[in-house]
Symmetry: C2
Subunit: 406 residues, 2 copies
């Protein structure tokens, strides 16, 4: 008998019909003799509706109260699923984050799970209940409701699985696994059978939306095997697990692309120590998240600095840069939106040589100019003009032969 944690996202519980579908899946797993814990998100659209309501009052709502508001979305889902399970003859009990409790820090809207008490869950499982838990939410040490931020329900599920030492954590979503790249861009994209936590982490950081970074980090830290699969069919999903030697056979395992990037460039900054720190401190103070940073020394003791940031932060970033430009003594400042970052990822890069040059050559052949490059042990990212994004993904998927099964 296995302990299985299942997580269903907003689309999977988006209507009473879909909740009934989830209940049937849960029942089938229970019938096989497993102990089942289900973590659910808010019904699709509900969180956005509540946020919109709050923003109608004031564009930047009080963060403590926003969490009180939006955590109701998951609370509705758990009750409806519990009722539906009971309806088909199963014993089920729901819990909000505070009821277990799932303890977090006090960063409203982006809280981190610090502890999870699984006593109630274990007791209920022992009594034959299916336990249903509200994802996305927790409670801080002062008894205040917190939420975990985007993808928070994935994190909740992984945290519960870790706490219970569950055999597996199944993440049900609207795609049936992790693909070598976005099948909407490359129809030949292949579903990956098994992927390492590290690879998944890079993919999540670099634009793949199927799993969220924190959930993968948490799973990696606690060695929770994750399965990503669809709640709308019975296809085998993708297993996210510890690295194995098999995974290194391929140099590149996936191509990702993030298209909501912007770039800011300072030209001709006097090359004296402390310049970069002044600039990036000012940006950090305004919560502008800077991604790739490139600094080139030019002639005459001057330097150029470029960095990427989310497109939505470009105006704010430029304003801050204008403010520090004089202090830095820069000749010119420019910003461009419509940038993209295309990346290749694979544990095999550690041992395979020539991966980077293959990538750059493939892009060059198509006349795609690489504006910035950043690398890690298991990924290479290139910042390019957004209009080339889809082309670049197709070219890279092709040159590394990702459509071919292992």
């Amino acid at each position: 008998m296995a302990v299985i944690v299942q997580k269903y996202g907003g689309t999977s519980v988006g209507s009473l019909d879909r909740i009934a579908n989830v209940a049937r899946r849960v029942a089938a797993r229970k019938d096989q003799g497993n102990d089942i814990v289900v973590v659910v998100s808010a019904m699709a659209g509900e969180t956005d509706r509540l946020i919109a309501l709050a923003k109608e009052i004031f564009p930047i709502p009080n963060d403590r109260e926003l969490d009180v508001l939006i955590s109701t979305g998951e609370q509705v889902s758990i009750a409806l699923l519990a009722m539906t399970l009971e309806r088909i003859g199963l014993k089920a009990k729901s819990y909000c984050g505070w009821q277990l409790p799932i303890t977090t820090d006090s960063a409203f809207g982006a809280a981190r799970v610090t502890n999870i008490n699984t006593n109630r869950i274990s007791e209920d499982l022992g009594n034959g209940y299916i336990v249903i838990i509200a994802g996305f939410q927790g409670v801080n040490d002062h008894g205040e409701i917190t939420t975990l931020g985007r993808g928070g329900s994935d994190t909740s599920a992984v945290a519960v699985a870790a706490g219970l030492k569950a055999d597996v954590c199944e993440i049900f979503t609207d795609v049936d696994g992790v693909y070598t790249t976005d099948p909407n861009i490359v129809p030949e994209a292949r579903k990956i059978k098994t992927i390492a936590y590290e690879e998944m982490l890079e993919m999540a950081s670099l634009g793949a939306k199927v799993l969220y970074i924190r959930a993968v980090e948490f799973a990696m830290r606690h060695k929770v095997p994750l399965i990503v699969r669809s709640s709308f069919n019975d296809n085998e999903g993708t297993l996210v697990t510890e690295e194995s030697s098999d995974m290194e056979k391929e140099s590149v395992r996936a191509v990702t692309c993030s298209t909501k990037e912007a770039k800011i460039t300072f030209m001709g900054i006097p090359d004296v120590p402390g310049t970069a720190s002044q600039l990036f401190m000012a940006l950090a103070e305004s919560s502008v998240v800077v991604d790739t940073i490139i600094q080139n020394s030019s002639e005459e003791g001057k330097t150029d600095i470029s960095f990427t940031l989310p497109q939505s932060d470009l105006e704010k970033g430029l304003e801050i840069c204008r403010g520090v430009r004089e202090i830095l003594g820069a000749d010119r400042l420019s910003g461009s939106k419509d940038m993209a970052k295309v990346s290749i990822i694979g544990l095999g890069m550690r041992s395979h040589t020539g991966v980077a040059s293959t990538m750059f050559a493939a892009l060059a052949r198509e006349g795609i100019n690489i504006e910035m490059i950043s690398t890690s042990e298991i990924k290479i990212s290139c910042v390019i003009k957004r209009k080339y994004a889809e082309l670049a993904v197709r070219v890279l998927h092709d040159v590394f032969e990702l459509e071919k099964p292992l």
Copy 2:
């Protein structure tokens, strides 16, 4: 400086505009130097929407999970009101029932408040916060969410006021006080300035919808002065408080009418001990709430029993009666819906004589047949055909001169 508890019902917080209106009222009271605690209901229609959703799954939803579901309504309201208050420059903090906690028994859907912890409220008030509390909800000893049933937010407000030893508990609603009768039936109905808890309790029991029984009981037990007033204007409301000699000057203070009554009659039951108990035990076991009961001895050792019950329970009640009819040996069984109960209420009845005969004579003059009568120290109720209900109310309001100010 006074401590004031204000309760706003669903209509008063039915939209963001109305919540803004509530916030302005709260701010005005705060500006006068008072400590303010606000108890709110769910936005109008929200609780019904959630119940409908649950009933779509199954007509009789699991009661534990239904409370998890519907308690989200108030949680949304508290967050929106807190944000709105902050928006206009006030410090505000919201609490769900479990956060204080407001402890209740485990009767999901109709829980009773057993304790209320006001530590957090007092601390926040001391720090200049307006404290906002979700009405209608609590938590049982097992940490499960409960709701208090119809009018539960009134009870929450009174419980909070009692716990805080507040100077007053203001119940804001969509009418501007307690009237001598329903102004929709009698346009001359007069707003009552001050009414005793006992009178209010009878009125609530007998069809006046302005306040709920449990809230009045709670207020009476803890001597919490209640003010009933409108959230849409600044009219003075009605004070519900302890009995004073003034109140006895009038014999009758109000006329109420409940039109959703039905009647069941057994004719010719052998008059032996234990007959009535068998019947009413069977009804009680099926949770049919019986109201007025009349038993007449007829000739030849036979007796007739009639009783009223809510119209919605008539079919269920009749089915049970058919089941016990043979056991009782009754000659005939009949049921009629479309009954009404019209009542007159007043502390003064204790000392004024002839009130009952005045009532009966007034109804008789209009040809209204009285089918059943029940009395207490401070009220007389007559069950009549429903079609006469409005006429009876007008006649009684007139004969006891309730339109005349004191």
